[in-house]
Symmetry: C2
Subunit: 792 residues, 2 copies
């Protein structure tokens, strides 16, 4: 578990943290359950490859599990579902909306709390510094500043390292993986939530170069997950209504609501939040979900608005009038003409280049950090503290290098100020002068962005100051992200981007009549797009952030160009992190070479599938459960009569049974002394659908006596009779489309032949089997086709 605490758990090749779910076909001579003990090697039939790379790659190195988004249609489910009354259906619908409402409400409140805490802690810290500076006690100021930041970072890092290692980093890649069907352990628990909240407050107040935006998304997803399961793991509410949500499908929907609420709370961008969830985070999307996420974000916005109204009356300490539209440039009269397209295109191109460069270098830095973080908890904390020290010293000392600039009466804001915020900080300058670098560095990150975005201030900053700012935040943006505190990526990239944008605006000089603040906004947008590769959602977020609709067309152009340029070099930063973490994320588009491979060939390269009979002996079930790690087993009936034909001795594919349901059957002693089919009422007396969905039970916790071992279990009523299947001649490309579009965990492969002696089932495919990396390991010759680019 310790190893998971850093941002990057596994530095090895991608695909190393694997759910192990392969199978074995029962050979003819093994059909007799008596003779077939799984303690002897099962994997006899292995036609083409002597090793089974698909199953072995990283087998059981981690607890990552796939999620069951498929509806498990077994007899019990069907009965449970049929017996639901109209009232229960309404309860379910009501509860869905109630949860969406609560997610929005709690996200709004927690976002408010975080904002208040950060603004106050950072505010008092900055006011104290102003005091030191005014008394010219520069060294004491440095010690105080560094000390406060050091202890804030220490507390955040210790919280994170000791109590919830998964709270480090932004959390967005893991949410993306969850919605794709990959469950990272301990990702959405109560510990993670609390550590994320307080860790984020600590880390952002400490002036580190990271944002609260990513963590807010994760916080919101945690809230959603906890609400859906009725509380923390150990203290769950046993509310009867909540039983409807005891499945991965509904949790997925609520977490989608959560992630959009988080973005909404971070940027006060309700539409942007919905689109962010749609474009970047979610894998499956339905129209009804669009509507529910929209409702959640509407609630968040109302909560935030109410809070701002309260704060405007001065009850929030140092929070002031900042509000949450952090970079409001609505008063800028934007006027641009055809000629202004040229600088806009240049910004886009450079943003794309810088963004992909940032992705590339950050990848290297994260790999390096991972080596350090792996060494233990102390190393993690020390790394975080080192970064904090460097940041503090730079932020405090660099402003002394800047020349004091005289205040110009044309400035619209007070100049100079000694307030905690303000655009013209006096710092060490004489009266009537201000220090432009202190304005940018000795402030909160939000204020820094607001200052550099400020319009009608073309003479405010000296270009060396902006250059120093840009260079410093490039370094900080690379070294800060990987440390063990909750950290978002949005703000560091915005800071870097605004610096480069404003610099470019200065260089353009008289060529253009766009405002320099506008250049800063566009620079930030271009770098975001160049690194994160989002378009529509970023566009809307920037729209709602800057509150200026007239910027829309040029923002669109900048974003499109930056994304296009960036895509030429490397994938988006989230994809890079997903790959570094070894999360088996399934891409939307199959690789072109996947058309040249059939699922039958894939199944041949895997160990044979393990099947169970419809009425199976207890000893074999125990064997199978103890000696394999598969999560589902095909159920095949033998020697059945096919209705309407003369065929005898046929086999029948009955369906797929989950490991959890087998364990439940053993635990509940669902045993028969003879081979017979059970009746409906027998099953219903023994099981109910809700209990059956419990996943935590392990086979090791179930005791079966010697006598019971000789008895039988009727698996039919527990079997999902409607698994999705493909014929063995199906190409991997199309199978993958099916797998992803329908949200599967297991996909059965049926033979294309029909006749006596043909096995009822050829194999079973899981997420891991469809990952390009794993397939290429088993079929290296396909790699030569890999060169040919995707053309979809």
């Amino acid at each position: 578990m310790e190893d998971d605490s850093s941002l990057l758990a596994k530095p090895e090749a991608p695909g190393t943290t694997v759910e192990p779910e392969p199978e074995a076909v029962v050979d003819e001579e093994e059909r007799d359950p008596e003779s077939n003990s799984l303690n002897q090697p099962l994997l006899k039939r292995n036609r083409t490859l002597s090793t089974n790379p698909l199953a072995l790659v990283g087998a059981s190195v981690s607890h990552i599990e796939s999620l069951d988004y498929e509806i498990n249609e077994n007899d019990l489910f069907k009965h449970d579902w049929r017996s639901r009354s109209r009232v229960q259906v309404l309860q379910y619908i009501f509860l869905k909306w109630l949860l969406a409402f609560l997610v929005g409400l709690l996200t709004g409140l927690i976002a408010t709390l975080i904002n208040l805490a950060i603004e106050n802690i950072a505010g008092y810290k900055l006011l104290a510094i102003v005091g030191f500076i005014q008394e010219e006690r520069y060294l004491s100021g440095l010690v105080f500043f560094t000390g406060v930041n050091f202890s804030l970072t220490l507390s955040a890092a210790v919280l994170c390292v000791c109590f919830a290692p998964t709270a480090a980093g932004p959390g967005i890649p893991e949410i993306k993986a969850y919605l794709n069907g990959v469950d990272t352990p301990d990702m959405f628990g109560a510990n993670t939530l609390l550590v994320k909240i307080f860790g984020s407050i600590g880390a952002v107040s400490a002036g580190l170069d990271l944002g609260k935006e990513g963590p807010l998304v994760h916080i919101s997803a945690c809230i959603a997950s906890l609400l859906a399961q009725g509380g923390p793991d150990n203290y769950r509410l046993k509310w009867r209504w909540l039983r409807y949500f005891n499945n991965d499908r509904d949790r997925r929907d609520i977490i989608t609501c959560g992630s959009s609420s988080g973005v909404c709370a971070a940027f006060r961008a309700p539409v942007g939040g919905v689109l962010f969830a749609l474009e970047e985070v979610a894998t499956w999307w339905r129209s009804s979900l669009l509507w529910r996420t929209f409702f959640s974000t509407a609630v968040v916005v109302v909560v935030l608005r109410a809070f701002i109204e309260v704060c405007n009356s001065g009850k929030c300490g140092l929070f002031g009038t900042g509000g949450l539209i952090i970079f409001d440039v609505s008063d800028v009269k934007v006027s641009y003409h055809a000629m202004d397209l040229i600088p806009v295109i240049i910004i886009g191109i450079i943003g794309g280049l810088l963004g992909s460069l940032y992705n590339h270098v950050l990848h290297k830095v994260l790999r390096l950090y991972n080596l350090i973080n792996q060494k233990g908890k102390l190393h993690k904390v020390l790394l975080a503290l080192g970064v904090s020290l460097f940041t503090s010293v730079c932020q405090y000392c660099l402003p002394f290098l800047a020349q004091c600039r005289p205040c110009d009466p044309s400035f619209r804001e007070p100049c100079p100020t000694n307030d905690r915020a303000g655009n013209f900080k006096q710092f060490n300058c004489p009266a009537g002068h201000y220090n432009d670098l202190a304005t940018l560095l000795l402030t909160t990150n939000d204020d820094a962005v607001r200052n550099i975005f400020s319009s009608h201030t073309s003479s405010e900053f000296h270009h060396t100051s902006i250059l120093i700012f840009f260079a410093l935040y490039c370094i900080l943006g690379l070294i800060t992200f990987g440390i063990a505190v909750p950290s978002g990526l949005f703000l560091p990239i915005i800071l870097m981007g605004s610096g480069y944008g404003r610099l470019l605006g200065m260089l353009m000089g008289s060529y253009t009549n766009l405002d320099q603040g506008l250049y800063a906004v566009l620079g930030a947008a271009s770098l975001m797009s160049g690194s994160m590769r989002m378009t529509v959602s970023l566009c809307v977020i920037f729209l709602e952030l800057t509150n200026n609709l007239l910027l829309l067309p040029i923002t669109m152009i900048v974003l499109l160009i930056a994304k296009t340029v960036g895509d030429c070099f490397n994938p988006s930063i989230y994809d890079i992190i997903l790959e570094l973490k070894g999360l088996p994320f399934l891409d939307a588009n199959p690789e072109p070479w996947m058309r040249n491979l059939t699922v039958g060939e894939l199944a041949d390269a895997k160990p044979p599938v393990v099947t169970l009979c419809g009425i199976e002996k207890v000893s074999r079930i125990v064997d199978v459960l103890k000696n394999t790690t598969h999560n589902a087993f095909p159920v095949v009936d033998e020697d059945v009569l096919v209705p309407g034909t003369v065929a005898t001795g046929a086999t029948e594919l009955h369906g797929l049974i989950l490991r959890a349901h087998l364990v439940q059957a053993l635990k509940k002693k669902w045993f028969l002394t003879e081979k017979r089919r059970t009746l409906d009422w027998e099953v219903r007396e023994k099981f109910n659908w809700v209990e059956l969905s419990e996943r935590e039970l392990k086979i090791e916790q179930v005791a079966v006596t010697r006598q019971e071992m000789e008895m039988y279990v009727d698996l039919h009523p527990l079997t999902n009779t409607t698994p999705y299947t493909v014929v063995e001649s199906m190409s991997v490309a199309k199978a993958m489309v099916l797998f992803r579009q329908v949200g599967l965990r297991h996909m059965l492969i049926v033979p294309k032949y029909q006749g006596a002696g043909v096995p009822a089932i050829v194999g079973i495919l899981t997420r891991q089997d469809l990952r390009a990396y794993n397939i290429l390991t088993a079929f290296p010759h396909l790699a030569s086709h890999k060169e040919q680019g995707k053309h979809n």
Copy 2:
């Protein structure tokens, strides 16, 4: 064809216009191709039902066809795809983006043209009326006004009725159906495009209560479709590059770009356009498509902006400064508090009620109109002219009922005016007075909306005037939509909604401090949402339309409430029209009772499937093609050896062959004198992938000699070897999810049994078989479960 010209082609039950694609299972005794002539009845095996309702419902009453969105992976495709060089892949990508660019550019230009034409025609008409009124020649004014409108309507209706009947109505439901996989004939041709452009200009200039927004979406989709296929049907460009687009998948993507460009051009709402396509129109959606539609709308916005810049310098005749943000309320200082939530909620509720009432009544009106329209071309034209006369008379005469109101010096706009636009029309009033009803009625629809949305004008309108306006537009909104001219639904609903909103604002009086213009905006939004049931996209469209971000939270609440209320009563207006038109649209969510039915049972209720052998006799192919209307046939090899087993006499499911490919094989004389498998080079010499995709060829156009009838065809290389399949025990609910998610046209059903004598294939499912209405016809007992609501 004539019957298709009205908005509603078929008034019968839904699902009546059907593609007939069912099949027959080959019985044991029919295996010998010699003895099996399809001239004799094939449908012997019919286990459960004596009739075959699924196949019969409306069979061949229309030419509606399903689209092939699946990739047809046969040998030729694979070869074609493998042989594509890197350069060709780049050509393809470049072309995709070029087409997206061209769609945006042309949509922008045509939208400009339409706007210019309408503003000028309507402007000169209105100026002439002002002249008549000032000379007090009221009757001449009436005659002139009615006459001009009459002739404009006549030209639009004649164009529509005689040249392109499909150009009537908005076209959005058909686009929605197309993207769902249903091809309506003549929907995206050059005729339709031209008639839609000029018909729309005529109808809107005639002052009818309809908008240019819906038609613009259709126009844009036509442009996209024509570009993708290289020109009109008879004069296609034979550009080599375009061959890549000779498939339904790529056309689907381009038409999605087109529909979002259309909305963008209509409302100058680029993000709203993308979201509209996403939420309302598209069935499948990929992240890369999001990006490309966004690019298209960006191009549209740039074109429109350039055009406005030109027009601002006065070169556009009467176009003036209108611009395209038609209802800009950005100067309204919105301030609202918790108490304002109550009127906002009331607006939402009433909007939802009115919207669903509108849907209900419009449904009845459309059914009535359909009876009239069916009687022939003359009736259609007469109906349109009657509506035009009524509209003109009301618009001209009603203002005389209004009392003249004195101009208030506090008004921000000139008062009174005799200009073509303007918020305070003098009309028949003495100097210093204005006629508030003339301001709303005797103007273009766009200007009417702008006037009623206007802010700081709480004393402008008398409440009886608004009441008359509202009542009139309720009537017009119901009677105008179904006539045979291009008409959009957006504007009529906005007009109605703004009237009711403003009325409500007046009633609220001093209870609220929201502006009355704001009430009008919210009323329009609520009615749109109550009728069309969109949320996010409407919200963004209104945001971009009103250019005021502060309205966002209350707009969201209004939209959500209105949609929730409306959904309690009936489906959205587009769904109603889809059903009226009998388009076999496949819904996103399966009905709950579909879980109680397996696809095997469904297949049993259908006529048996018609299969072909891998190497089939020509005579049987000709028979099958002539005597069935199916569009695809499973290909099954018999007596094959299963590798790796001792099984003999097995059958092998080779895949699915399309009718078009069979016809091509016959036409190209792909005949063998003996039963043998052909070699790769033979096929490639005879066929190429592009020709194979031609769909127009009919079996009747192919001549086969008596001698050739005895020869064989090797179907293997032409067969799609990777059709999607389901096992017969799959529930219809899950099968439908698969069908829709992957975008299928045919889905094969394989048996769950495995053994000698079991048929290789149980049946084949098409879109029609999965439609709730058709299933219920065949299985009436399921209808009793229907009551239980969906709970997804």
